[in-house]
């Protein structure tokens, strides 16, 4: 550590609220965080703010254009789809599905990947060799094809999508936690913990895990975006969430035949997807920047 570095670090470390202040100063993090918070709030408050029932079909009012076109009205601010269902309401409820899938998938894949990565990183040797082989095998699998095949075998549903994606998307977690664990395992405080007589489990949970949390959270946000996009793709192909659930991917699929005449049918859910994924990526990048050691002082 250079003397310059020490001076700066001592100055910066004097305040613990540094993380919050840095977060608020990071443009991307603030923007992404705001959008994400808005989407989460909308999803949580869906029954309260959706103007109509998203499943209510009204064949007399099919394909009404959204408010910014000539024939639009505030009755259906974002228009209606081919079955007359209010698009705004479907969009709002669709947020729930995307977020639900994103969160549950990340929890499942995060747990699997972290366990594999931490064990590989801490124990090294043969354990690492075997687990790395498992990771490599997983990396060799094309996720979308495997998902399609699973859907074909067990049928497609919301739960199915979550389970399949959860069991497939753990690779980045494993790789990142493995290298983070290797770094932490080399430190003196882990050696000290062993010298004090700590059991391996205690070391993994109490010394290693809290210190890889930063990297883990960043990967989690990025994998969440990944899962959401994959679900949209699967639903678009008809092998994910089934109608009449208002998954944004499904909405795009259902609207593809009207693409040229009623472009909003695809445009609106697509824009929502882009916004959500962008927000998540901004938050992930922002968290990485803000918690990176180079930025500490």
């Amino acid at each position: 550590m250079t003397a310059a570095g020490i001076t700066l670090e001592a100055a910066a470390a004097r305040r613990r609220g540094g993380l919050l202040r840095r977060s608020l100063g990071h443009g991307g993090l603030v923007l992404g965080g705001a959008i994400l918070a808005a989407i989460i709030a909308i999803a949580l408050a869906a029954p309260l703010i959706a103007p109509h029932d998203p499943y209510n079909q009204d064949l007399a009012h099919r394909l009404i254009p959204p408010i910014w076109q000539a024939k639009g009205s505030w009755e259906h601010a974002l228009g209606t789809d081919k079955l007359g269902r209010d698009y705004l309401s479907r969009l709002i409820f669709g947020a729930r599905i995307s977020l639900l899938i994103g969160t549950l998938t990340v929890i499942i894949s995060g747990t699997i990947g972290t366990v594999i990565g931490v064990c590989a990183g801490y124990f090294g040797g043969r354990v690492d060799a075997v687990l790395s082989y498992v990771v490599t095998t997983r990396l060799a699998l094309p996720v979308v094809l495997v998902a399609l095949a699973s859907a074909a075998l067990v049928g497609s549903s919301l739960e199915g999508v979550i389970i399949v994606l959860g069991l497939l998307l753990w690779d980045r977690f494993a790789v990142v936690t493995r290298s983070a664990t290797q770094q932490i395992a080399r430190t003196d405080y882990v050696a000290a913990a062993r010298a004090i007589g700590c059991s391996t489990l205690r070391i993994l949970g109490s010394e290693i895990l809290p210190n890889i949390l930063n990297a883990l959270i960043v990967v989690a946000t990025l994998e969440m975006a990944h899962a959401i996009l994959l679900e949209a793709a699967l639903s678009f192909l008809g092998l994910g969430v089934q109608p009449p659930l208002p998954s944004w991917g499904l909405m795009i699929s259902e609207g593809k035949q009207y693409m040229f005449f009623s472009p909003w049918v695809i445009g609106v859910p697509a824009a929502a997807l882009v916004a959500l994924v962008l927000a998540i990526n901004l938050v992930g990048d922002g968290l990485r920047d803000v918690t990176a050691p180079e930025n500490r002082g």
């Binding site: 550590m1 003397a3 310059a4 001076t7 700066l8 001592a10 100055a11 910066a12 002082g297």
Partner: protein, 326 residues
Amino acid sequence: MALLEVDNLTVDIPLADGVLHAVNGVSFSLERGETLAIVGESGSGKSMTSLALMNLLPKRAERSAGRLVFDGIDLATAPETRMRGLRGNRMAMIFQEPMTSLNPSYSIGNQLTEALRCHRSVSAAEARDRAVQLLDKVGIPTAARRLNQYPHQLSGGLRQRVMIAMALMCGPDLIIADEPTTALDVTIQAQILHLLADLKTEFGMAMILISHDLGVVARVADKVAVMYAGRVVESGAARPLFRAPRHPYTRGLLNCIPVPGRTAPGAPLGAIPGQLPSLIGPQQGCAFRQRCAFAAAECAGDIPFAAAGPGHLVRCVRAEALEAAA
């Protein structure tokens, strides 16, 4: 004319909670062929001072100086292109960590010749010849073969020698060595210091040696500047300064070091209580007064430099009184 004249050098770093005064009004001069040692602990500002000379400070640092002249060239106003022309060419730097100061992806020969060809239009063959010549000079055996080796194939001591050779490629007038031996083994340290001294004499270079090791400084330096909290607190020729240190901090530092044969084994070492004060915000009075056993009311005011002997300056208002009492 002195080779390097520094007057009232200041480096401020704006932080969220205020301005960090890393270097606070540092002045010194260096003649050709002289060795000036800047001694201090962490947070003293010694490394920042050397970076300020070469204008290699971190982006948000603000440098200012009354006078910053190197061989007639005004460094304070020199544009970056001018500075690049000087760095590695007339002023070279040797860093502390030989492990990370050499690029692991390029061979030694590549890095050495690049150092020369950046500043002189010589052919690749001429550059290689000079590289071999210098590697030999710095005591690396089978120099010609080494050119194709990579940093990871050399030990720390050898890497530091390569760094020294690299610094010499263009025949600089000034070498700034920032803790050049701290990361090395003790037996290698002596050899590297010897080497630096020999090369200095042979090439007629001046050297600024930055170190926290008073032993190294005492043996190597012609002039010494002791820094504390961004300020020079005592400066002068090495011999009188070490024989009769006047500033309580310098005295305290020398008392801290166990010296075989002089300090009684097992007896408590003289320690300086407390720790470095904050360098953020307005710096009033003597920075050392909270830790000083001799502090008095006047230490909170302005502390000018006082002469303590020919060429020996001390920045302490109590120094005279302490000397009289002794």
